[in-house]
Amino acid sequence: MKLDPVLVEIFFHKVTAIAEEMAITLQRTARTTYVKEAGDYGCALAARGGRFFAYPKVLGVSGFLDSDVGPTMKRIPHLEPGDVVLTNHPFESEGLATHMPDLHLIRPIFFEGQIVAYAWDFIHSADIGGGVPSSISPRFSDLYQEGFQIPPVKLVKAGALNEDVLTLYKANCRTPEVNLGDIKAMLAALLVGEKRVLGLIAQHGLETFLDAQDDLVELAGTKALAVQRQIPDGEYVFSDFLDDDFNSKVPVRVRCRMVVKDGHIHLDFASSDPQVLAAYNIPTGGHRHVWLTLKLMHFIYSHDKTVPLNHGLFANVTVNAPRGTIVNPEPGAAVGVRSATAIRLNEALVGAMARAKPGLMPAPSGGIMIPCVLVEQDPASGQRRVMVLQSLVGGTGARMGSDGVDGRDSSLANQRNTPIEKTEEEAEAHIVQYALRPDSGGAGRWRGGTGVIFSVKIARFGSAVLGRGMERFVFRPWGMAGGRPGEKARVVVNAGTPQERELGKLDIFYPEPGDIVTIMTPGGGGYGDPLERPAGEVVRDVEVGYVSAGAAKCEYGVVIAGGRLDAAATEALRARLRAARGPAPDFDFGPERLAWDAVFDDATLNRMNGLLMRLGTNARPLVRRQLFERVVPDLAKVGILPLHEAVGDVAAARLRLENEMAALETMVQAMGGTIGT
């Protein structure tokens, strides 16, 4: 280190406080709920290279720590003091912006004529135009449908607002005034950042300021490496699946091959599926990127809470995310719901780490974020009112030494919920239940957190219920180290009545007045053999109602009679189950994934993706869809029909797959090998 350790510690607090003060300023003066309630914004200070050396610990979005403003700033040829650069462009910014409602502002900080740092902030703005209000829908198949594209431009030139840019911007979003309020707050936050950085330089000198940045980055790298060394050397592969690609029922695979050597980690996402014609693509620019390393950050921070939050944390991490795959799509791909894919991808990363050494990470959480939206129509005026009834997540996964958290999940957005009483102020509909979902947490020595049950009773004619981000309807959150998977998600109308109907994955549903629509979110995966869970803990789970007596018996082998533990019967049952079940598997995916993997093994899918990648970007989706639907003819029924039932006879499906693979190979060869993108 260049500076003495006391000064480094002092700088750590001071630069973090600058980032936090920026965040406080932004939050205090911003106008939209995205900022005020959901906390969907971020602030940081970037080093001259473009990556962050100061980041708030508790304010705003935690996940964007490894962002890079460098590529954006390179696109602006002449910078001068007082400039502020604006972009929302996922491709021009090379993954700084990852979908277009996110507006990013960057202010270069000059000292004596040279740039010494950048102040950065972003907000998720209420609307950026495009095909739907609020600009996000999985159905969009290209970037143009997703709204107004802003490549890096100067929003402020030498201190003067660029009115031309502003005029263009305002004409292209549905809520220009609200958005402008947030942009003002962002500009104010950047000014605070600049002022404080210059104050710090005045107090300590430029050289010390720059040295402190280097030292803090080095320190983060050292601390992170020490944590990373807990992962044994080797190569570990793990895949997970999105339920479907929106246009069909064909699942989308994300695959992580992790190579570890002396704590240095290489994440190879090659052989993940090709990009899709839906908004699930993750625009990373092929760089080491926030959406590719999120769980590594959680891993490192959870094992060393003193690590300074800066890009040094990722110093010993490299990635490979080939162009044309879902983790690095070609420019022009739709990206709005990239978070759904990123959740799966990070669970694949967790799986790879668990393969290396069980116990390093928790089992996956419910792994979804569903804003459940109700549209009500005024009978007289016909005016429609759109309300987010509740932000729904599943429970967290269990981990070595601890049960998962029931009904909550901090791993992505860590948002607050909406009070029922607030919802009912706005809506005619009543919320009839908002509760934990018993038996949904994966059984295990440590139990996965339960999902939730959310039920709304519809009041008005012409109402509609919408929910995007619905996943884990097909594949379960898997169990780890002998733990069982969590329960899948469900949507049901009029549950428990003769009119009960399974709706499956919901895009939009038009209920009748009096209908009760119920959404059940998945539970987290369990950890460790459920037969090893102390019977007393299972009994307590039954007493408080997290687990039913039936599940206690068949999952945990715990017999409860008359409200009390039957110790003898439990011991006998557990012995029997232990013998019947055999050794607990490292991962328990549930029957759906088991059937899928039995047909579509890793090697075949790798070969398939290799072949598909030799086709043109826009040729891949249809070829791929046809192949899967020929191998699994009932695939289109999945959603209501469990996947393993759709797969049916595995041997027969394998046979069809071999034929289809041969046909694909012939087709690609006939086209003369590599076709340009």
Partner: protein, 692 residues
């Protein structure tokens, strides 16, 4: 000679119970510290009062008022030692406390656990009854459900019950009906209805208000009874008031019924005392700084009055009632100094607390603390600590800090001192960044603020902190160690009320203008408040009504608070309220929107019953007569600091740093380049010499 009249302020802390005795005739204050009796705090209250009665030859009946601050409720919540209680909710809401507001404490750290719910899931009970959001009944109470519920509660042997039925913020009558039925069936069980205690929209937060109230209800009731008995035993017949979260005080009867109003009163009293000290010096912009053994708390006062927040925490739980806005900023004297694996110097969050305490206490502490740093640097005198009641072990403290120096890679004969100084720099830097952030939250400039330092370590650390944070002055009250007890007797009686009421108001609302409903709501609150304050006791004189609103432009997602000055209450119009809102919105967001109707979210009322004031006594003038000095390690080398006794520093006294001022309950450190002047009340004002 008029009959003697006394008031006693009491603040029960973990180690000591502090007393301030105000002699109203002679306008003097006297201070007393009594070791606390954690098992029975009323014992130390009795002992302290008895000691003062005898020492000052007072008659018990000459005490006209006792104002008492207690952390019994707070500690019970933090340590989870409250009542065995149940909560009754509407159907579908059994998991209210399990789900809470969904957020987990850390987004980075998956090992950080969620809070343990206040009531376990098997003591959460559902009934079908609930309200609609318009205040009408959606499902009435079912008598058979009530009987079954009462039976269950009896079987579970609960001591207290909280009731939270959906939408009862609009009308508490369903909850009251249920509560009345349960009280009748479960004698001795204390019942708290959410809509009666704090009728604000948001079921989780309102449920917690009722829940926390119920949780500490039995404990507080029995404490108050015991306290009253002990006072009766001493022959003290004065009314007892309990300090409140809002900086006011409450009669014993009110505190018995609403103990939740008292849980955060301790820090609030210090802020009340600070603002009184500020007013006496025409200093309205204050940052209060209370540093004790385990933590340091600050509060910002921009206009000479305590400021409130409606978003605070009691232990793990959010509290939405208005409380004086005090925030923790980290280290106390007992916070542990350590070095991490990479050689960085860290302070806290672990604390040696009062037991075993710092290494220098010689009670088994082995890890260096902030207090150990003060001792080996020469800021604290090991022989005069607590007036010489406790000898400090400098050698042991030096050994501990030498270990820190070793791990920091320091060398040389003075490396322990270098490490101690570094630790104080890190502590100041951390606290300084917290102050900067807090001021940023309020959007104000630190240079205009004076730091009021109290608590055992506040005056020791304050100058270091002020220099670091860019503050230009520090005020040290005459008796910093008993400052919260002083705040208790300076408090007026105060209670807050709320109505959640959504109406469009003002010119832009046109025919939808619901101002008449707002006026009716305010008048309803005023009527309730008047009736309450009239019963709060004879000592309460005139009262003042403080009306405020939470407002927004229709369709906005956030609200702004608009306060109505009492002089504007009569003839208040919707237009007037809207104008105040437009102005506040413009100040914060840079624009106003006259075309959009203004919407109310809540109407609030604070009623302040004036208690005849206690004058802060004047100090006799006087410069320090004698002066000695002692070596002090500062800025990397040894210097000589003048040492003064606080008792010598009369009004107008002026001393220059480096200097140490010693008194029974604290030590004040004045940096080189700073000076201190005593004002007419005897408070020390530290300023930079150049600025003086």
């Amino acid at each position: 000679m008029p009959e003697a009249r006394y008031r006693i302020g009491i603040d029960v802390g973990g180690t000591f119970t502090d007393f301030v005795l105000a002699d109203l005739n002679s306008a003097t204050l006297r201070f007393h510290k009594e070791p606390s009796v954690p098992k029975d705090p009323s014992a130390s209250v009795e002992a302290g009062i008895a000691a003062m009665l005898s020492r000052h030859a007072m008659q018990p009946r000459e005490v006209e008022l006792i104002v008492h601050g207690t952390t019994i409720g707070l500690n019970a919540i933090i340590q989870r030692r409250g009542a065995r209680m149940a909560m009754v909710v509407s159907k579908g809401n059994r998991d209210l406390l399990e789900l809470a507001r969904l957020r987990l404490p850390s987004s980075y750290d998956f090992t950080e656990p969620r809070e343990v719910p206040l009531v376990p899931r098997d003591l959460m009970f559902e009934v079908s009854a609930r309200m609609r959001s318009n205040g009408s009944i959606l499902v009435p109470l079912d008598p058979t459900e009530i009987e079954a519920l009462a039976e269950r509660l009896r079987a579970e042997k609960v001591e207290a019950v909280a009731i939270l039925l959906l939408n009862s913020y609009r009308d508490a009558s369903l909850e009251v009906e249920l509560g009345t039925a349960l009280r009748a069936r479960l004698p001795g069980v204390l019942v708290s209805e959410s809509g009666l205690i704090w009728p604000e929209v948001r079921e989780y937060e309102r449920g917690l208000v009722a829940g926390l109230n119920a949780y500490i209800h039995p404990l507080m009731t029995s404490y108050f009874t015991k306290l009253k008995n002990r006072l009766d035993g001493l022959g003290v017949t004065a009314p007892v008031y309990i300090t409140a979260n809002n900086g006011g005080s409450l009669s014993l009867e009110t505190a018995r019924a609403r103990p939740i109003d008292t849980v955060l009163s301790g820090p609030a009293s210090g802020v009340v005392a600070s603002t009184r000290l500020g007013q006496a010096n025409s200093q309205t912009k204050l940052i209060t700084f209370d540093m004790g053994g385990t933590s340091a708390d600050i509060s910002v006062c921009q206009s000479g009055e305590p400021e409130f927040t409606t978003a605070t925490f009691v232990g793990d739980f959010p509290l939405i009632m208005p409380v004086v806005n005090v925030g923790a900023i980290g280290a106390g004297g007992g916070s542990i100094v350590w070095v991490d694996k990479q050689g960085l110097l860290k302070i806290g969050p672990l604390s040696a607390g009062a037991d075993p305490g710092p290494v220098c206490y010689g009670r088994g502490g082995t890890e260096a603390t902030i207090t150990d740093c003060y001792v080996i640097l020469g800021i604290l005198d090991p022989t005069t600590f607590l007036g010489g009641r406790m000898q400090l072990d400098t050698a042991a403290a030096t050994r501990a800090l030498d270990g820190i120096a070793e791990r920091l890679g320091l060398s040389g004969a003075n490396r322990a001192m270098a490490a101690a100084e570094a630790a104080l720099r890190v502590a100041s830097a951390k606290m300084g960044t917290e102050i900067t952030k807090l001021l940023a939250t309020a959007g104000v400039d630190p240079r205009e603020f004076a730091l009021v330092a109290y608590g055992g370590a506040g005056p020791t650390q304050a100058n270091l902190l002020a220099a670091e944070a860019g503050l230009t002055s520090v005020i040290v009250p005459p008796a910093p160690g008993t400052f919260c007890a002083l705040g208790a007797i300076l408090a007026d009686v105060r209670r807050d009320y709320i109505r959640t009421i959504r109406r469009l108001i003002g010119p832009a609302a046109g025919s939808d203008d619901g101002w008449a409903d707002i006026v009716a709501a305010i008048e309803g609150l005023e009527k309730e408040a008047r009736a309450w304050v009239a019963r709060e006791g004879e000592i309460v004189g005139e009262h003042e009504m403080l009306v405020s609103f939470s407002l927004r432009y229709q369709g906005q997602a956030y609200e702004l608070a608009v306060h109505i000055a009492p002089s504007l209450r009569d003839g208040l119009s919707a237009k007037h309220v809207c104008d105040l809102f437009h102005a506040e919105h413009e100040r914060l967001y840079g624009f106003r929107d006259l075309a959009v109707p203004v919407e109310t979210a809540t109407a609030r009322l604070g009623v302040v019953g004036k208690v005849p004031p206690v004058e802060l006594p004047q100090a006799a003038p006087g410069q320090p007569l004698r002066q000695h000095s002692r070596p002090l390690w500062h800025g990397g080398h040894q210097i000589s600091a003048a040492v003064f006794q606080r008792t010598e520093l009369g009004a107008g006294a002026l001393i220059r740093g480096p200097a140490i001022v010693e008194q029974l309950d604290t030590t004040t450190f004045i940096l080189p380049g700073w000076q201190a002047r005593a004002d007419r009340l005897g408070a020390l004002h530290l300023t930079r010499e150049a600025a003086a």
